[in-house]
């Protein structure tokens, strides 16, 4: 079993739940802070204001019963407790004498009050046996602390309120947490399940099962990952198919000449060959097949080299038109023999940057095809046209052309237009794919247009050497 704590979904779950719990705690601290700093402070200020307003009625001298009565009346109408104290014993007047009695105010508070300052209190008050928020203001007559107005609110009521609030709050928090956890878990499951699917699918792909496709349910990153995965699985599938096909093709291509060689050799060995002339003919056939095998192996090695090392080209500046003419010289005899009409229209300006051997290979392949597939008396038109940044080599023949269905695959490896065509009139089926590869290595492109029975047009576009090279 996979360690549950290491899963992405658990990590995400933990992160979200931690964030939620931290938010709840933060909200709680904030409420406590506001309670403390706003509510209690406001309460104190209100109490001080209330006591000060009452104290404003004191006009000095001994505190009268009338004044006390007024405060008592106010007390009976008011939420907070408020009373007047003028007992000196309560006002710490006996200090520094040690008295066995808890006074209402301490000596420090007496000093504050004597200085005319109000005293604010918060917490448990032994005298009232309860938690209070209180304010005390002095009643001063010529520096003498004649009395005090003491006003307080039992915070029990606030605590009760808070408890009630806290209980409800806790319940709400609990509910919120349960809902949040349920929702988060479900949501994460939904979110993570495609990843799990992809994981399973990847395992199956690694086992060689390329047919698998992951369902794309969303358009987010995970959805895109699923699409990318599907593309990857398809590509691997196709590549595997191609490899298989390629091997089959190679085997097929090798088998035919080998069977010829074996057959002719066997015939000679068996004494089927009666005379020297026949023997020679057979040996020629064996030699031709050996040559074909040699070419095939050569082409395969070229392709393999180009696939594994794209930097094998030894590039030098080439005067393109001259180069084409030099290559064409070798074709003069066969053109003459086939009585072909060759027309040349070569712009002498283009200079390209290429590997001479490879360029020759490209041209040979294209010219071979044009000459081979053009019947006697046909014509071949070769043009070199310079554009702004590149140049175009156009080879047009009046040959038998390529059927439309085959055209898209014409440059695939081992692709043959005429499947039944004997290898006597066709190559290995690798020539055009090598040309395409070479042109691409030279940063160019090759296009083939063709109409059956009308002819074929091959266009090779290669970049020109830049100005600085020319200069």
């Amino acid at each position: 079993m996979i360690n549950k704590w290491r899963t992405l979904s658990f990590k995400l779950w933990l992160t979200i739940i931690t964030a939620i719990i931290l938010s709840v705690l933060f909200a709680y601290s904030l409420s406590q802070y506001y309670y403390k700093n706003l509510y209690v402070e406001k309460l104190k200020t209100d109490l001080v204001n209330e006591a000060s307003l009452l104290g404003a009625d004191y006009s000095g001298g001994e505190i009268s019963e009338d004044f006390k009565g007024k405060v008592e009346w106010f007390n009976s109408k008011n939420d907070s407790e408020v009373f007047v104290v003028n007992n000196p014993r309560e006002l710490s007047a006996c200090l520094p004498f040690e008295i066995n009695y808890d006074t209402l105010i301490s000596e420090e508070e007496r000093q504050m009050l004597l200085d005319g300052k109000a005293v604010e209190k918060e917490g448990y008050e032994k005298r009232f046996e309860k938690n209070i928020v209180a304010a005390i203001i002095p009643l001063i007559d010529e520096d003498r602390l004649e009395g005090i107005i003491y006003t307080y609110i039992p915070v029990d009521s606030i605590t009760v309120l808070l408890k009630e609030f806290a209980a409800k709050w806790m319940a709400a928090v609990l509910l919120f947490l349960i809902v949040a956890i349920l929702f988060t878990t479900k949501w994460l499951k939904k979110l993570v399940s495609p990843i799990k699917e992809i994981e399973t699918a990847a395992h199956r792909v690694s086992e060689g099962n390329y047919d698998i496709q992951v369902e794309v349910r969303s358009h987010d990153e995970i959805g895109k990952l699923a699409i990318a995965f599907n593309d990857m699985a398809n590509s691997i599938h196709l590549e595997e198919e191609r490899k298989k096909e390629f091997l089959e093709n190679v085997a097929h291509e090798l088998r035919t000449p080998l069977s010829y060689v074996k057959g002719y050799t066997q015939a000679i060995l068996d004494g089927v060959v009666k005379n020297d002339e026949e023997q020679r003919k057979y040996l020629q056939l064996i030699s031709r097949e050996a040559l074909r095998l040699q070419r095939l192996v050569g082409d395969l090695m070229d392709l393999s080299k180009m696939d594994s090392d794209p930097l094998l080209l030894n590039k030098i500046p080439i005067a393109y038109a001259q180069f084409i003419e030099d290559v064409l010289v070798k074709y003069e005899p066969i053109i003459k023999e086939k009585q072909l009409d060759l027309q040349l229209e070569l712009d002498p300006d283009p200079i390209i940057f290429g590997d001479e051997g490879r360029m020759e290979q490209i041209l040979h392949n294209i010219f071979d095809n044009a000459i081979q597939y053009t019947d006697s008396g046909g014509s071949i038109y070769i043009a070199l046209i310079q554009h702004k940044e590149d140049c175009e080599l156009l080879v047009t023949d009046t040959g038998n052309g390529i059927p439309e269905v085959d055209l898209p695959y014409i440059m695939n490896r081992f692709y043959r237009v005429n499947k039944a065509r004997s290898r006597f009139d066709g190559g290995s089926g690798l020539g055009l794919s090598i040309v395409k590869k070479l042109v691409e290595l030279l940063n160019g492109k090759i296009e083939i247009e063709s109409k059956e029975k009308r002819g074929t047009k091959v266009r090779v576009i290669l970049p020109l050497i830049k100005e600085e090279w020319n200069s």
Binding site: A93, E98, D143, R144
Partner: protein, 320 residues
């Protein structure tokens, strides 16, 4: 590092100087009135013309002072102090200290000029010391003794126990408690009128009950002879040619009574006064909360002068 050492040495030097603390020297022949200020633990010296001329800031939690018979040596004591500090006024410095333990709340010089009475609240005892601070006798009394008063005629010492409801009377010959008599609770402050066989005792009251009366007991028997109204919390009494003065610190009032115990005059004076004394034929009152001394005309009871002193004047010490 060098800087640190320098600073350390400087501090050492300064504190070294401080330990030999010297104060303004008080001329031996000069009469003065001194206040013991317990909030800022200082002594304020005031001359005959009521000009403060010296202030001694003592870094000890002392609550009382006693002038010795030589009129130059003073003792400083406090409940939290381990030692009684002995200062010379003319030298302006500490000259000795007596290790007699914590708990001393009052010290009095007996009329022989040699014996000192120290009231110890920690062990509820009266300690008798000689002029060198050596303990001679110790007498157990009631709870939290505070006020002591020497009677000449019978050679007795009246000890009023603040935390008890009895007054212990010690025979100074035998150093034994002669008898005890019941008094009101939280009693303090007293006046002995032997010729009338009266001992006046005031007090603070108990709990939130404020003492509104002063009590006159028989000095010989302890029998309650009379109760007089003296609102509120009468804690100091004084008798001179003008009459008897009663200081009530609850109402910050001074009452002047005649021989027939009748109130002749009364005046609001000071803020929370605890102490009163005769000086220069005037009555001086110390206001604990207002940090002031009030000089009052003994006849009219009018305030003649107000003098600012240290914080919390709680006791007066006289040299005449």
């Amino acid at each position: 590092m060098k800087w640190g050492i320098g600073l350390f040495l400087a501090i050492l030097l300064l504190t070294g100087c401080n330990s030999g603390n010297s104060f303004t020297k008080i001329n031996k022949s000069e009469p003065f009135l001194a206040t013991v200020n317990i909030k800022d633990t200082s002594l304020t010296f005031i001359d005959e013309n009521y000009h403060p001329f010296a202030k001694w800031d003592i870094s000890e939690p002392f609550t009382g002072a006693l002038l010795m018979a030589d009129k130059d040596t003073i003792l400083l004591y406090g409940k939290e102090m381990e030692k009684v500090q002995v200062y010379s006024l003319s030298a302006g410095k500490l000259i000795n200290s007596w290790e007699i333990g914590k708990g001393i709340v009052n010290m009095q010089l007996l009329r022989d000029g040699k014996s000192i009475v120290a009231v110890n609240q920690s062990n509820h005892s009266i300690h008798f010391l000689n002029a060198d601070g050596e303990e001679q006798d110790i007498v157990k009394v009631g709870k939290s003794p505070l006020t002591v008063l020497q009677g000449e005629q019978a050679n007795r010492l009246y000890v009023i126990n603040f935390g008890d409801i009895k007054c212990s009377v010690i025979n100074l010959e035998t150093k034994k408690v002669d008898f005890e008599f019941p008094v009101h609770s939280s009693s303090t402050g007293s006046l002995l009128r032997e010729e009338k066989d009266e001992i006046w005792i005031g007090g603070h009251g108990d709990g939130d009950q404020v003492e509104e009366d002063l009590y006159i007991y028989s000095a010989k028997t302890g029998e309650l002879k009379k109760k007089l109204k003296a609102p509120t919390m009468p804690i100091k009494f004084l008798e001179n040619a003008e009459g008897i003065f009663v200081l009530s610190h609850g109402t910050s009032s001074l009452y002047k009574l005649n021989d027939q115990y009748e109130e002749v005059k009364s005046k609001v004076v000071g803020v929370n006064p605890f102490e009163m004394a005769n000086f220069n034929e005037d009555v001086v009152v110390a206001g604990y909360d207002s940090d002031e001394v009030y000089v009052m005309d003994a006849e009219t009871v009018d305030v003649k002068k107000t003098i600012k002193v240290g914080e919390g004047p709680f006791q007066l010490m006289l040299r005449e």
